[in-house]
Symmetry: C2
Subunit: 257 residues, 2 copies
């Protein structure tokens, strides 16, 4: 396909004004026509939430020079659904989400608005990639991220992949000369150990802030966590058939229904 | 384990006052000590969202006779996290979520607060089941659902399953004499075709309601959608390792990194 006919949908979960989405737009602009549809406020940790009980707003914004961009009052998944139905009126050729300010490796994929937006596009049969940078700060340096985003997006566009191929890409914090390249991985077996921070409001009533410590329980060297610790950008191919086939076999044999 | 020592965590996404959670409590009460931690308002479609930007409230309620129950201001996933850390101070022996007013079969699992609550417990290594009834109405008859919930919960408690085994159970709308029993299935390949309902507010500005049509693209007779159409209750074992191993092999061979 001619790059001038190609439509690249760009979204994120940190909101349309986050530096990470600007970096992503700059990175993938050489590969096609960009259309941005992103949340109007931060939506971190929104997972695959959709908005049912209230209606959605969609407003065009002029914050990226020469690029059509919209902000939406809903979740990252709402953005992708609205982009398809009300803005593009067709499937984009690829959807890229991010660049997230903060890691989305291992179990974090489940909670991530960045990855849920990409997954929503993949469910529609659109090749999709979520990008996340391990640096949480507003002033993070996205130079390496932009190289990774360009390289990965070009690879996915030029590869003969099944419809709806989906990738979770995380980029390490590292000096350019230490960076070792892309590494194809599986999702590490990890979780968050929660300890809620319990406080009292001025009226004496308790409230809780979610906090937690990340715990990697996976010794494998083929995981995304290992790759990132060793200065690779991790690339995890992602599915949305959640059937646990091994457990299915086990209970089929055991339960004799 | 003695049933008197067993703790059953009950949650849902329709909120603590929904008839479905009351039905679930009644169904599983003979199997152990019940503790309820559920949202204080409807949380349908919240997927695996967690609450980061605002603190959470937790209040004890006395609406189920003789049963410890709490309502939480957060999402279904927040409920499970708070239950573990601030109420139970240990892992429950099983977590049951629902009974949801409406279907959560096939791709709906991705958007479902009911299933995300159960998945959060499974990530913690707790055996977990989400129950959903295809009848959306407030006045739905949960008689068959309660039988299914008791049977499935007892099976899971008494089976020798891996830690964090997770099941998505949907119950059909059917007459008792037509009901064919449990059927172990895979997740059907299906999706929602969205058409947003576009309206204008009194000031002339557009807004959008999410609507859509469910489309099953899967002809298989081993799917949850098929089972429900044929008067079975569908049981899908669920995983949270989202790695797409087949695509991983394919790009490993093709990309030669």
């Amino acid at each position: 396909m001619d790059k001038d006919e190609r439509i690249i949908l760009v979204t994120n979960d940190d909101g349309v004004t986050a530096p990470g989405i600007r970096a992503l737009i700059e990175a993938v602009s050489p590969l096609g026509k960009i259309v941005v549809v992103a949340p109007d406020s931060p939506q971190s940790g929104k997972g695959h939430a959709i908005t049912i009980g209230v209606p959605l707003r969609l407003n065009q914004v002029d914050i990226f020079e020469g690029i059509e961009a919209w902000q939406c009052s809903g979740t990252p998944v709402d953005c992708v659904k609205l982009a398809r139905d009300k803005i593009l009126h067709r499937k984009p050729d690829i959807c890229v989400s991010g660049i997230n300010h903060g890691a989305n490796h291992s179990i974090n994929i489940i909670y991530s608005g960045t990855m849920s937006a990409a997954m929503e596009a993949a469910i529609e049969g659109i090749p999709s990639i979520g990008f996340s940078y391990l640096d949480y700060s507003f002033s993070a340096d996205f130079t390496l991220c932009k190289e990774v985003a360009y390289d990965m997006t070009k690879r996915v566009l030029e590869s003969d992949l099944p419809a709806g191929s989906l990738f979770n890409v995380n980029i390490p914090i590292t000096e350019k000369q230490e960076y070792k390249g892309l590494r194809i991985c599986r999702q590490a077996n990890a979780k968050w150990v929660e300890e809620f921070d319990e406080r009292r409001d001025p009226h004496g009533k308790k409230y809780y802030w979610l906090t937690g410590e990340f715990k990697n329980m996976d010794p494998g060297e083929d995981t995304d966590v290992w790759a990132l610790e060793n200065n690779y950008a991790s690339v995890v191919p992602v599915q949305f058939d959640l059937t646990h086939y091994k457990l299915k076999e086990q209970i089929t044999a055991a339960w004799k229904l």
